[in-house]
Point group: C2
Amino acid sequence: MKKYIIILIVAIISVIGGTAYAVLTESNEQQTIKDQYSDIAAKIIAGSLQDSNAYNRLSIMCDTYGPRLSGSQNLEKAIDWIVATMKKDGFDTVYTEPVKVPHWVRGNESLTLNAPYSKQISVLGLGGTIATPANGVTGEVIVVRSFDDLASKSKQANGKIVVFNVPFTKYSETVRYRVNGASEAAKHGAIASLVRSIGPASLNTPHTGGMRYADDVKKIPHAAISIEDAEMLDRQCALGLKPNVTLKLESKFLPDANSRNVIAEIRGSEKPEEIVVFGGHIDSWDVGQGAMDDGGGCIAAWEALRVIKKLGLRPKRTLRVCFWTNEENGLMGGKTYAKLHAKEIPNHVLAVESDAGTFKPKGFDFGGSAKGMELAKEICSLLGMIDASACEEGGGGADIGPIMELGVPGMGLLVDDSKYFNYHHTNADMMDKLNPREVALCTASMAVLTYVVADMPKKIQRK
Amino acid sequence: MKKYIIILIVAIISVIGGTAYAVLTESNEQQTIKDQYSDIAAKIIAGSLQDSNAYNRLSIMCDTYGPRLSGSQNLEKAIDWIVATMKKDGFDTVYTEPVKVPHWVRGNESLTLNAPYSKQISVLGLGGTIATPANGVTGEVIVVRSFDDLASKSKQANGKIVVFNVPFTKYSETVRYRVNGASEAAKHGAIASLVRSIGPASLNTPHTGGMRYADDVKKIPHAAISIEDAEMLDRQCALGLKPNVTLKLESKFLPDANSRNVIAEIRGSEKPEEIVVFGGHIDSWDVGQGAMDDGGGCIAAWEALRVIKKLGLRPKRTLRVCFWTNEENGLMGGKTYAKLHAKEIPNHVLAVESDAGTFKPKGFDFGGSAKGMELAKEICSLLGMIDASACEEGGGGADIGPIMELGVPGMGLLVDDSKYFNYHHTNADMMDKLNPREVALCTASMAVLTYVVADMPKKIQRK
């Protein structure tokens, strides 16, 4: 009985409050984003957190189809499942658009320490590396700590296998040894190159990732080894033990393959031609499950759209989820999107990407005009109740890069990134590293941001 | 000039202090361990911490010879180097004693996920497992969470590959799935068994280790997978995806091999027949470098002896460092020691083992009489200045187990074990996980404890 009285009182207060709010709203055309969207943000957040649907769908995708390298059947099967499931969700629009993608395959690979003792070393060829001859490349190892160090040891590098043993600082800093290491080593006559994996911690965990060959430099095989083994080879050289290894890689490029970007929309009620596009990349490397890179980013965006629909919300502008394909080794999804949607680009109000893992969200970063940044901050403040209201300068992401270059403001989901680079591009990028609550918080963040931007009176001002 | 005055003052104070101490010492026969050994403990600690010799020697051993599985050339080469180097150190006695050891070799191995998608899964056969047929064992997976769970799913386990997905609690608790899993699974008709690696954390890191077959139960192949993959197979089963794998193991037993325990001594000045034996096991698994399991334990003991010698100290009893061989898959070093030294056992005053990693030491545990425990506590208190004065009940270790059974009191070095089981029996048990200061602190702890026990008037009372 007591319970019913409490419910009645709450209901009365709500009605009074609601009326007061409505009066206030009508009496004040200049209300802030916060005034206008606090309640709806709370509703969206509650809707996002009420179950583990995002995590469960991510698990279904990852556990059924596995990692999703461009050109693989895994990727296309996962896309088929996504499209079918999105259609069941009943969005206004669900379709794919064709994207030609590079088709690199790893094949068998091995790295053998021949001296000072014999042992198999964990190795991952880097995406795009050439193969070795069938009997491998065998040579003495020289270890360098930087490109400058390599240059200073140019003579010793000639005819050897260069190991870049560069401790992780920031990804954007250290990754150049992975991306450019082969050609830099080849310039000094190296016969192959190995890079210490780009990450802060390791339990014998090599990290794959993209690499590039410079024009006019001989292509040599390029692979990643664990922190442990890079340090070991370094110590062995220092001890004068002349470590010697055999690298075997069977990797190759097949003809470009057909893949797809996936698009799902809630069409805008008043300005359907104006678009807020958001999502992540659906491809991954061929290791682990691509659970956080970037399955989680995709599923959080998808779930954001589903929660908005489930709550019966329809913003004035169109909400468009896009899963770009081939971010990892070509960016053809993002580039093709920019081409196929060229006419719509002026009507892209905002592009939002999640590709830093679906850990506890902190907020977003923003790349655009100073005025746009002010508005972005106001919108992000709506995420204060889940401690995700940060709004930092910078912003965007690889997939939305091509349309940001055309003037579209861009934002990227910021998360607790303390562990991301432990798992990034490794066989440890698996479902067990994520948790349902954090994925749901990412969903909530994406949903609130994109709904408000799609619905608010103002538009984020372009540069 | 000022410097020399300070040195002079310090010297005068030292002489006065030393004289005062000597007077006090002579005037008090009933002085405590603390009174008697505080200064000498400080000297030993300072001597242990003054350079990185222990770490550097460990690096030379690990980086030159690699992991040291019983029966391997690596192990015997490492022993040769140890003996030669110990002889250069000029100890009173350096010798080896012959030990017959099992000779299990891993061979090539692989685990392939065939369904729901195709992928190579990291695997480590468990020490002692039988091989699979050349084309492997292929079967559907069933995941269980305990032996009880297995029993309740007995019918489903028949003809399948059983995965024990049991989260790590304590090593002593969870390890039984590794040790006994194969026979338990075979009792229910399983065709192979896989165990979630025995450790708290993973970056796609399988852990090897010992296993046993029960008598009268069919032997089936038994291997370890990472936490990530055990969880994945569990989720796949829950999703009804019927995961199917092929396990290939080429492991085999060769005829028993010749190995050696290594012994080095400082002979006692008054009671050389009374012995304090201390050390670790010199063999390791065939993964990583056996840097912490148990290269570090051996080298810390060796270095303790070297520091004591370097300081010109000679205790009343004999200090004997022993590196037992074949702890990991046979314990033949410890067992053989007990046999070969049977006559000396009554004169073994104490046995000390370090086999929990050479991280920051906390103290020791003690296994023996209640009176012995009191004395052990008093001795451990000398390690207060390096925060290593804990003295806990329990005590001992695998290698000293056989002589503890004969009545010898045993102690084990306790260290910060927060990370040990991340690395234990994996390819991440490498030099980079240790640091020189912590290894030196382990040296200091071993040196102070063993010197004092070898020199003090009283003996630790046996049970």
